[in-house]
Symmetry: C4
Subunit: 207 residues, 4 copies
């Protein structure tokens, strides 16, 4: 039984987030997808192929944690990457996937590397459990694939080993980020993309 | 016979697109020009020399597919590049030409090269017929010239051979992009310029 | 006799331009200054030290073409650079001076060079008398100095020899640009700064 | 006795500044903190962990100049860096701390250097006591630490020797800037971050 009031409330909040993320240039040309948890066993996720800066409540689909739709419409092709996160982490309430320029270019410029280490930034403290800059946070970079289930399995196996990981990159594609609720997720995404921009700038300076 | 209601409707939609594209910095200083198809044999196109962020319906001229005006006013000097596309591709409904920084600089930085190959980007899926990142899309770079008819002929002969090409660059000048309707065209342009920015960034990192 | 209606009209138009230029980041921290011609012998210019994104009509001073105030208040310290232009070119109606990042950095990065040559850009056609990209436009770079009269004399002697010059740079300081009226001046400034950004990007790629 | 009307007035002004600074991308993900002096012995400072683009008057805490709260709530963990400045400089009325990309990256790229020298920029005149570009202004770069009292002591001892210093950097963290009132502080911060961006760009060009 879908809680339609909660569905609507989450959809409106995700649409507002989408408008903001679109203005930043992080979800160009219908790219990206967003979700919020409904309950222990379901979430809402953006429908396939929508403009992420102009979402309305009808642009969301309820899905179970096997990525199967439980309301009408066609959910994003990457739904399984969202539901993997909700299934793996009962405490999270929102997942955002963006294609920012920094995420796209940095992941491609680091060809052949599967881990990005972020060190010594004060802003690392935006991530759960980090209370000093004098540390490193590792962001995995997965190879891109159109086989979403296989990518979800890879992410799941990495995150089983590294439960504190704050997000991951898909090469030439973008970033996935999650949080206990949408505001927290937005804050972490903002921190992560800022750090990706800093790393890209440092890479520029080093070459 | 011009459908004046359709003319007005298209002009208003193009003016709104122009405001957005101007805010992005893609049509500085009256540069760029825009069009929408009216019917099988005609289109409306921006008048010559207008500020592209403040267009009104009177800033558009109806033209036939030989680039000849069929309403009063002076159409853009590059009208023939628009009508070439409408004549070549009966299925397209809109053409946008912008001068973004990325299109301008990348086409000049690739001096001596006539093709830009975009590979391995998830965002390639924004283009018609592409359903995987594991592919390449080729964007031709034509030399700039003030002989618009000759440029239109070159574009036409390239596109006859490569009907799936999503857009082209003119060196030191800008980008041409088209789509089945204005929203589709805007989406493709957004994807293409994003990819041009990524390529420019990668070029920076490689030098 | 100052035409107070014209004064007010010009002040309001310059304030609107200032808001736009401030949003672009071209007049940070009270930098920059703006003017419009009143008649053959006078102009209004921004008062010294004002925030250029929040100008009101009382933030302008009328000056004669010797840079002497003819209304109350203290005009910009760089007034003589504006009045030199009005005296030299009877046909111009507006002068804008900005400190954009591109103008600042490019003029410093070209240490030891006194001329910037802009070639092969379609956008060169935004400048008076240019109808092809296949040309070069030369922008002089003057050394910065706090001796404004001496700088005005240098600019005047350069412009006497090069009346078609569309603007000039002051090293580590910014750009001066002028036009027949404020809209024309804004259009030229926009084209010039776009080209400075392109040149800076090309310099980056070349190093 | 706290002047509650002044508290409210300062809080509203700082919230407006915060909205602007957030839009610029200088205080991502709840980073940064802001303060205004109340009187000779106290100031208001942002509460810990707030979104800096959506502050309300309840998001501020009054503190004495030993960084101890004198109203309810938990002040920013970096409060002692603010109160050090109010104690050291009786004439200042506002302090802004931001994490701009330029401040973060430049301070890290200058690893091993503890001073940034800004020279020959016209915009140096935005700083108190500077009336020519033909000078240098030195910005110290302190190592980052979570020991705020020790950092405050380091800043205090540097500023005792260099009372005209307009701001300082903390490596990988951000910038501190102050002024006689909030508008002055914003103007100086804007000038300083502009100059950091210029220096970063020059560093890019030099590598």
């Amino acid at each position: 039984m879908i809680d339609s009031k909660l569905f609507y409330h989450q959809a409106v909040a995700l649409a507002a987030a989408g408008e903001d993320l679109y203005q930043r240039g992080w979800v160009p040309a219908t790219s990206g997808n967003f979700s919020c948890r409904l309950d222990a066993d379901s979430a809402i996720v953006t429908a396939s192929g929508k403009h992420k800066g102009r979402l309305s409540p009808t642009d969301f689909i309820a899905v179970d944690l096997n990525a199967q739709p439980i309301s009408s419409g066609k959910p994003s092709a990457e739904t399984a990457l969202h539901t993997q996160l909700y299934a793996r982490f009962p405490e999270i309430g929102a997942v955002l996937h963006c294609h920012s320029p920094a995420a796209t270019v940095l992941s491609m410029a680091m060809a052949g590397k599967s881990l990005l280490k972020l060190s010594d930034y004060e802003l690392l403290k935006a991530f759960t459990g980090i209370d000093t800059h004098a540390t490193s946070v590792t962001i995995p970079i997965f190879a891109n694939t159109q086989e979403i289930d296989s990518l979800a399995a890879k992410a799941d196996s990495y995150l089983a080993e590294h439960p504190n990981c704050p997000g991951y990159l898909i090469r030439g594609h973008g970033v996935y980020c999650w949080g206990s609720d949408l505001d927290t997720c937005l804050r972490k995404l903002e921190a992560l993309d800022f750090l990706l921009q800093c790393e890209l700038e440092q890479l520029r300076l080093s070459r």
